[in-house]
């Protein structure tokens, strides 16, 4: 098993003919993901690379191909519309890679998804991968290996760094998921932790957080009260100055809240093994498992 994506994933790509969309569609197909449809309004009827039918609307694509998951690569200004469209067409899992979506757009999107029972991953995220089964998004497939560690993170390249350490030490992954660096996101740490907790093929979880907000603190509480599998955690931004956005829209210390120190303390209190640096991940996992 794995969480959220696997061999049953039938993927639709919104923005398949764009620069990023086309590049990553080829990468996903190359990895073995079942990419069943693409959507670009005005390009319905085309066939992407001779293999993926392109539709004008998500509703058409779902009717014709039974797509059950969507990944979004459209520009920020129209990304919220793309999410609305996917949810309205009955897509159950929507992965939004796009960075730079206005937060107020997301405040309108989230209740709409909730009413329809759809899950959003992101926005502003690298997507997710269940190694050797399915890759949805932009995480490089070659750094991952199938195995029994779950990885959940607010970051992109920092996740690759840590996954790379796991893979080179023979610790494969059940699923690696990037939940996104924005202040409002569809799927948070707790959602992922509880999915990993329930997944029979995940033995331990690596959680990679950063400054800003209180998602990690709430996740720590969840780990303490609910989880029986070992959890190892890292927080980026120990040297970040308060009041500045560190690249990610959500990575900001407001006043005195959302600091790395406060999050690391919450992890430690909850019995999560706290990494001081990325290279600690393998030794700490070995110690706990």
């Amino acid at each position: 098993m794995s969480i959220f994506v696997d061999e049953q994933t039938r993927l639709l790509v919104q923005g398949i003919t764009g620069r990023d969309g086309s590049f990553h569609t080829r990468q996903m197909i190359g990895y073995g993901t079942k990419v069943v449809a693409g959507v670009t309004p005005g390009k319905g009827g085309q066939v992407f690379d001779g293999v993926v039918p392109v539709f004008d609307t998500v509703a058409d694509a779902v009717r014709e191909t039974r797509a059950n998951t969507s990944v979004i690569y459209v520009p920020a200004a129209v990304a919220a519309s793309a999410i609305f469209e996917a949810a309205d067409a009955g897509i159950g899992l929507i992965v939004c890679i796009t960075e730079g979506i206005p937060v107020l757009d997301v405040t309108r999107v989230l209740p709409f998804l909730h009413e329809r029972g759809a899950r959003l991953i992101g926005p502003n995220c690298p997507g997710l991968i269940s190694p050797s089964k399915s890759k949805v998004g932009i995480i490089p497939g070659n750094i991952c290996q199938p195995g029994r560690i779950g990885v959940v993170s607010r970051s992109g390249t920092l996740t690759y760094e840590i996954v790379h350490q796991l893979s080179t030490h023979g610790m494969g992954q059940s699923t690696c998921i990037g939940i996104g660096g924005d202040p409002l996101i569809g799927t948070n740490f707790i959602h992922c932790l509880s999915a990993f907790h329930a997944d029979a093929d995940t033995d331990a979880v690596v959680m990679i957080g950063e400054i800003g907000g209180t998602d990690e603190q709430q996740a720590a509480e969840f780990v303490q009260t609910t989880m029986t599998k070992p959890v190892v955690g890292f927080i980026a931004g120990q040297t970040a100055p308060p009041g500045r956005r560190m690249g990610h829209a959500g990575a900001i210390i407001s006043g005195s809240s959302g600091t790395a120190a406060e999050k690391m303390a919450a992890f430690a209190r909850a019995g999560i093994a706290v990494m001081k640096r990325p290279a600690d991940v393998v030794p700490l996992l070995k110690e706990r498992m």
Partner: protein
Amino acid sequence: MNLHEYQARDILRRHGIPIPPGEVADTPEEVRDTAQGLGGKGGGGRVVVKAQVHAGGRGKAGGVKLAKDAAEAGEHAARILGMSIKGLPVRRVLVTPAADIASESYVGIIVDRASQRPVLMVSPAGGVDIEEVAAKSPERIHRQAIDPRYGLLAHQALGLALKLYREMPQARAAADIMQRLYAAFYAVGASLMEINPLVTTPDGTVAALDAKIVVDDNELERHPEIAALRDPSAEAPSEVQARQAGLTFIKLEGSVGCCVNGAGLAMATMDLVKYYGGEPANFLDIGGSSNPQKVVDALRIITADRSVRSILFNIFGGITRCDDVANGIVQATQQFPMNVPLVIRLTGTNEALAIEILTKAGFSALTDMDEAVKQAVAKARAA
């Protein structure tokens, strides 16, 4: 993006929120003339001169002064214009008639991360930093989460207004202001709007005396009229330069210059510099897609910082191609002198090609992050 008080006042006034008159001025002479003109509009000729900078605590820093007449306003302005508040130079002041105030309260809207909704907050403890109120007497802050599908409902606004005012006419006026504030919030794409203080005057009028607006940077593309309000003089020049080059850059105090792809990895790299006993000179994310020109721009900005003693590249190639970064480094060295040592770590997509490019140009490259950071810290120390 932060707006200045006078810009925020203009926006709120356009949304029908009562705001006392006021004008901005850049010189003491202008302030004197403005004060003369405003003197008749209440306050018995007295005016307030307020520094327009993106910093809290202006009053404590001496940036807000009451003047008994136009001449004194000019004297205050001469002192305030040219002073620095929290490192930011004051280039402009707002002149308003001094208001007689019967009560001060706080009204604000933020996007709350936990409830994932806009939240309206009010407090009868106005005129002071709301974070202080939250820390010392949280029971004096009242909150209402707003469902964006329906907006701020009339009874919700009135419910909060009644926490501020006992008199119904004032409560109704405050509720009306709250609904207009909420409309303005979505209209400009704000992430924070505050009226602090919301005041009542002795005759019972409710008005917004000071306003603060922070706009979501991601909204600026669809609101060019708001983007045009940006004041580049309020930012570090290196940060303006970085933004124009499409880089995310934040200047810090240390000596190890950092150039990294991805925000999370960039933060983790700074943290590791500290872990090995160094201090990062900056946060810099060259972004996800690879483009040698971005690397050249990044190096230009980092090398311009005189406190930088060594430069650390940390690249994990996914979509970013290591060879593009290597080419950028080589191009940069051909365009301007590199006066400090470079420590380059790159791994991932096209790593071998990158190492070949760098070796040919006389650089060595590492593949291990910890090793690279240790070397960069050591070189910064030795310099």
